[in-house]
């Protein structure tokens, strides 16, 4: 449902109903981000800055300048002090461009939502001098943009997102494996997908990313109709990625359908949590600030980040 906003309110661009009327992706992203309060983020790496994070036992080769002499005086052991460093974050946006992502209105569907959310994050990250890469995929990689942090790089990412058209079915395992292999440094991997894929393959792929010490954010994009199933009259549903068809009375199936969807959402959420990936369900009628909020919350809680880095490593 569209929120009532003043015409001059910059946050009005967070509303999908308003965004759907803005044709250009770069304009959408700029307006969303400028309308939103941006925040600083912390690096996933331990460096040497002002905020203490933890002690680590001294090992030969460590710089003795970082030895904590107070601990030595009390315990007669050498410990290194570790701090949280504010360094450039390396992020990779994985955007699902499979056929199922084109479900919805022609001007505002899952793909549009995912691309706009990805563009907003890219805008936000590059504005903070972080490097951002992008991979658009269906069964195969369609667009690959290496991570950079220059202002002009945003145009490259937005251009790649604009040109990524819906294709075939998703091969999520192959995609995540390739992403895990191709991203050289540990960083943040953000997946935008409807996750209408084989769940074991999805979890296996996410696990690969976590095993390579990446922080993983999953934005699960679904159309409101796919959750509410608010159809009437005899309808023949035709699969967008498979040749399946079903002629039925949707009202008779609604309760069972919603039950199945809820089970699926629970399975995906639990699977992601178990692996240590942050998960957020986004309906295409949700305002874009849910995505930005999730990202900023994710980055602003280092303790949660450490907890994540400790989980899902098996």
């Amino acid at each position: 449902m569209a929120r009532e906003k003043r015409p001059d309110d910059p946050r009005r661009f967070l509303d999908p109903a308003v965004l759907s009327r803005v044709g250009r992706l770069d304009l959408r992203a700029r307006q969303v981000v400028e309308g939103y309060l941006t925040g600083l983020h912390a690096s996933p790496f331990f460096g040497h800055s002002v905020e203490f994070v933890q002690h680590r036992e001294y090992t030969p080769g460590d710089d003795i300048r970082h030895l904590d002499w107070k601990v030595w005086s009390k315990s007669d052991r050498f410990y290194i002090k570790q701090y949280e460093a504010e360094t450039n974050l390396r992020s990779t946006l994985l955007v699902d461009c499979s056929a199922s992502m084109s479900y919805g209105d022609a001007k505002w569907n899952k793909r549009e939502y995912a691309c706009t959310a990805a563009a907003c994050l890219a805008h936000l990250l590059i504005g903070q001098q972080d490097s951002v890469g992008m991979m658009a995929h269906d069964a195969d990689m369609r667009q690959v943009v290496p991570a950079q942090s220059s202002a002009r790089h945003l145009e490259v990412i937005l251009g790649a997102l604009e040109s990524a058209r819906p294709g075939n079915a998703t091969n999520i395992l192959a995609l995540l494996r390739r992403a895990a292999e191709n991203i050289p440094q540990r960083g943040l991997v953000v997946l935008f997908s409807d996750l209408l894929v084989d769940r074991p393959a999805l979890f296996q792929g996410l696990k690969m990313l976590r095993q390579r010490k990446h922080d993983v954010l999953v934005f699960h994009v679904l159309d409101a109709e796919e959750i509410d199933f608010d159809f009437r009259g005899t309808t023949r549903f035709e699969g967008m990625e498979a040749p399946d068809q079903l002629l039925c009375d949707p009202q008779a199936l609604r309760d069972a359908y919603k039950e199945v969807v809820n089970e699926y959402l629970t399975e995906v959420r639990r699977g992601c949590t178990k692996i240590g990936a942050d998960y957020l369900l986004c309906r295409t009628d949700d305002p874009l600030d849910t995505v930005l909020n999730k990202y900023l919350t994710f980055r602003s809680d280092p303790r949660a980040a450490r907890a994540r880095s400790g989980s899902g490593q098996g």
Binding site: T234, L247, C248, A252
Partner: protein, 209 residues
């Protein structure tokens, strides 16, 4: 089939109604050929939901279809009875035969008055005229004496007027001294019924009471 339709006062309406009962089935089949197409991404969930609900949906569809058919049949049956007894007037002609044989002169005391069997028969005939007048539709009554089946003693539309006339006229009649065969009267009335198209032959007389 013939005996089935003889149950209705208007069998044509029953036949038409029976045919109309097939309409829900035809509509059901037509609706299955008229549908909208919807591209759908989450077919996995839809097929899973359909697998869960298949038995229940089929059962519900059959029950719904059966109820619709039964409803139309019920309306048709009710209409066929109502039309028959009302607008058409078919089946509303009755012949009443009063047995005036000598045996009907047999008298006995009833509540202090002495009444013959013929008195009882005429009283019953009057009650019949009044009763038919109170029922729905047009009922024509003809009263005959068993001894003279050529001409009716009285005829007219059932109702209070005819009942009063019958009360007045029939009460003046007395049983004859003849020994009469009731079957001849029935045969004669069947002939009249066959000639006149009446479909109902009620008779009063010593063989009825």
């Amino acid at each position: 089939m013939e005996s089935l339709f003889s149950l209705f006062l208007h069998p044509v309406a029953a036949i038409i109604g029976g045919l109309l009962a097939s309409l829900p089935i035809i509509i059901h089949l037509i609706r299955r050929t008229q549908y909208k197409r919807q591209p759908w991404a989450a077919m996995e969930f839809l097929l899973a939901a359909q697998r869960r609900m298949r038995k229940r949906m089929v059962l519900e569809e059959w029950i719904l279809l059966a109820l619709r058919v039964l409803l139309v049949l019920l309306v048709a049956f009710l209409l066929s009875r109502w039309l028959g007894s009302g607008a058409s007037g078919v089946g509303g002609d009755h012949i009443v035969i009063l047995d005036d044989s000598i045996s009907m002169a047999d008298a006995r005391d009833e509540r202090g008055t002495r009444k013959t069997a013929f008195d009882n028969a005429t009283a019953e005939a009057v009650r019949l005229a009044r009763k038919l007048g109170a029922t729905r539709g047009i009922h024509n009554l003809r009263f005959f004496l068993l001894s003279s089946m050529d001409e009716p003693v009285l005829e007219g539309k059932a109702g209070e007027d005819l009942a009063r006339q019958a009360e007045e006229k029939l009460s003046r009649l007395r049983p004859s001294f003849l020994g009469l065969d009731p079957t001849k009267g029935i045969d004669a009335s069947v002939e009249k019924w066959a000639a006149g198209g009446e479909d109902k032959i009620p008779a009063t007389g010593s063989f009825t009471f």
